[in-house]
């Protein structure tokens, strides 16, 4: 079984990838599996948002989840 999630990428994460796409993942996949699939190293991600809430790398994803990934480009 697989699930489809909607992924939005921002700033440098878009380079050679996409701005927004549907991505297929095995059932029970976590955010880290999504990163593996998109070949995004952990260190390139600053912020993870899942369904308009702060997400974690370990978080398990469900079908139709909306995931936003933003690189570490903040500061302060």
């Amino acid at each position: 079984m697989t699930i489809r999630v909607r992924v939005s990428l921002y700033s440098s994460l878009r380079i050679d990838r996409f701005a927004e796409a549907k991505v297929e993942l095995p059932e029970g996949a976590a955010v880290t599996d999504l990163l593996d699939k998109l070949q995004i190293p952990l260190q390139d991600v600053g912020i993870v948002v899942v369904n308009a809430r702060s997400g974690t790398f370990q978080q398990k994803l469900q079908a139709d989840d909306r995931i936003t990934l933003i690189p570490p480009i903040g500061g302060g």
Binding site: Y10, Q43, S54, P71, P72, I73
Partner: protein
């Protein structure tokens, strides 16, 4: 008895060598709460406008908050404030580390220092008692030697020392205050104010701990935060990679300040990023009670660029300042420059800006070898940067002019060098590119300390659903980093106050709202549990605004006006390449945004808070201070 704080402010008169304790009462503490507001309060009360910042009349403040020293990750910062010798306006700089909590444990929430000691002196504060000590044996020593000597002299291994190095003694206008040589109140030249007062250091030792109103609740939130720090992505990044982790993303996004803010992409960034850092990494370090452990120590056995793990490792700001900003991709040299500045007690952000300024002047033949006794200062040459550090700290040759900071140095040099001198309110720029995050540009323009990266919302984090982090403030629309429209002003006004919570309560941004592990809800819960006050996010944010308005009034009193709320020329010019090529900040649009900010803040068209605003903030007593 108050919870979370001591209820005691220490007043020190260096001229008379006297000290006394003020006990302002709960209402005062609840009105001002800490850090930046304590500083503004005393500066407005005790300082006359127009005073020379390096004269005995300047007032120097070390301030914690009502919650500093509560056992929660990141609740450990403190502010050093005075009228700035660099900007001649409100000066303030925060640092984490261990000094803030120790000051609280020693029985005081803040220290207000006036006058000037007749000879070099340091203060030793232990458990409510204050000693004026002769600093003749430590005067002239660098920050590390000073730390060791004071530890030995007072016979306390665990004493925490905020000190100045030779730069502060020589009144270099961007001298900083070092806290155990790993944490720095870097900005706005507070070290020069200590130097002008003949004050080498403040050493503190306290053996008590702060009591909370609801200790079990505080423990519960601290445990929750501890767990969240392990899984919350921005904190996972900081723990694993530290702030050097920012270099790559900024460069790939085209917003890594490069060659004096001329460009946003640095071809050598791969040699400065976190993978490269591994070659000099010694260990990670932390601050009082913090489980993030984002600090980095470096070591290298090398003849040219030797690195000592006890002298601090470069953070993102320094990597960019001594790296991309000067076109240098040699990381050991960056780290060496950082350690020299740490020992001498100079701000690396200003030193990097100065170096880039000199390099661009050389490129344009405004400065030549004639000005430097034969030394070429060109982009890409790390040894030129190290050479300049020595010239500045010894006030030799051109170093004596540069010791005045970018703005004054360019005015003294003249010859058109001003076109390459980038400052806002006299403060040179932390390493963030306003053309790629206009919220930061607004922050730099409107902060009372001039260009200041900890007083500004970094808008790139709130794109798309990233804005979820600000839902609690009622901000529901995604932020567009490149826009300067009304939506951006709304975001900025709220975001600035969200960041301001951390400055006010002396909390480390890297553990706190809005980006890092703490949530608005639990932050308020924790303040309630520590202080026992029936407080709210509303009351705290009102105090944040009060603090910002007070420092604004301080600046108005010093003669600053709406013309000072601006950004640098270069940001009004097109970015020459990279992902945001062609992007510039439109001058008129930006002005409209600044004026819109005045309007929504309850300030008049000249940027002066209205009487109504002061009434709302319960600081009518300051109305007479606002120039007509």
């Amino acid at each position: 008895m108050p919870f979370g704080y001591n209820g005691k402010i220490l007043h020190v008169d260096l001229t008379k060598q006297e000290w006394q304790v003020e006990e302002p009462g709960e209402k005062w503490y609840r009105t001002y709460m800490g850090g930046s507001a304590f500083a503004s309060y005393y500066l407005l009360k005790l300082l006359k406008p127009g005073v020379d910042p390096l004269s005995p009349e300047n007032v120097l403040i070390f301030a914690c908050s009502v919650v500093t020293g509560a056992p929660i990750s990141g609740w450990n910062r403190y502010t050093v404030a005075a009228k700035s010798p660099l900007t001649h306006a409100f000066g303030e700089s925060e640092a984490a580390g261990y000094f803030g909590p120790e000051l609280k444990f020693a029985g005081f929430d803040a220290i207000v220092i006036q006058g000037r000691a007749a000879k070099p002196t340091y203060l030793f504060i232990k458990d409510g008692e204050v000693q004026f000590r002769d600093a003749k044996d430590v005067w002239g020593l660098d920050n590390f030697e000073t730390l060791l000597s004071i530890q030995e002299e007072v016979g306390e291994k665990r004493v925490r020392v905020a000190s100045i190095g030779p730069a502060g003694e020589r009144l270099i206008r961007f001298a900083n205050v070092s806290n155990d040589v790993e944490h720095f109140n870097g900005r706005t030249g507070m070290g020069a104010v200590l130097g002008s007062k003949n004050l080498k250091a403040v050493a503190v030792r306290g053996t008590k701990r702060m009591e909370s109103a609801e200790p079990e609740k505080v423990k519960e939130i601290a445990r929750w935060l501890h767990e969240r720090i392990k899984t919350h992505p921005p904190n996972v990044g900081l723990t694993n990679f530290g702030t050097p982790g920012l270099v790559k993303g900024l460069n790939a996004s085209g917003i890594l300040p490069t060659r004096n803010f001329r460009e946003g992409v640095f071809e050598g960034a791969d040699k400065l990023n976190v993978d490269a850092y591994a070659s000099i990494l010694h260990s990670s370090g932390t601050c009082w009670g913090c489980t993030v452990r984002c600090k980095r120590r470096v070591a290298l056995e090398d003849e040219k660029y030797p690195l000592n793990p006890k002298w601090g490792g470069p953070e993102y700001e320094t990597i960019a300042a001594f790296g991309s900003m000067i076109g240098n991709d040699n990381l050991p040299a960056v780290a060496r420059g950082n350690q020299l500045c740490n020992l001498y007690g100079m701000d690396t952000i200003t030193m990097g800006n100065l170096t880039a300024f000199v390099m661009e002047c050389f490129e344009n033949e405004i400065l030549t070898e004639k000005d430097t006794g034969g030394r070429k200062i060109l982009f890409g040459d790390p040894d030129a940067m190290l050479w300049l550090i020595e010239e500045v700290v010894h006030r030799r040759g051109i170093g004596d002019i540069l010791a005045e900071g970018v703005k004054t140095a360019s005015e003294k040099i003249g010859r058109g060098s001003e076109q390459f001198a980038f400052t806002i309110k006299g403060n040179d720029l932390p390493l963030h590119e306003g053309r790629g995050k206009t919220g930061v540009a607004l922050g730099y323009a409107l902060s009372s300390t001039g260009a200041d990266h900890v007083e500004t919302p970094h808008d790139v984090n709130f794109q798309g659903e990233g804005v979820a982090k600000l839902y609690a403030l009622g901000l529901l629309d995604p932020v567009e980093p490149l826009e300067t429209d009304s939506a951006k002003v709304r975001f900025f006004a709220l975001g600035q106050k969200a960041w301001g919570i951390n400055n006010l309560l002396s909390i480390c941004n890297f553990t706190s709202v809005p980006i890092h592990a703490m949530t608005f809800h639990n932050l308020v819960e924790a303040v309630r549990a520590v202080t026992g006050w029936d407080t709210s996010l509303y009351e705290i944010m009102l105090a944040v605004e009060r603090s910002m308005v007070m420092s604004r009034i301080f600046n108005l009193r010093e003669g600053l006006g709406p013309e000072d709320d601006r950004v640098i020329r270069r940001w009004h010019e097109e970015m020459p390449g990279g992902p945001i090529q062609g992007k510039k900040i439109d001058g008129q649009e930006f002005r409209r945004a600044v004026e819109l900010f005045y309007e929504l803040s309850g300030w008049d068209q000249r940027g002066r808070p209205t009487f109504g605003k002061l009434v709302e903030l319960n600081i009518e007593w300051l109305y007479k201070e606002i120039p007509a």
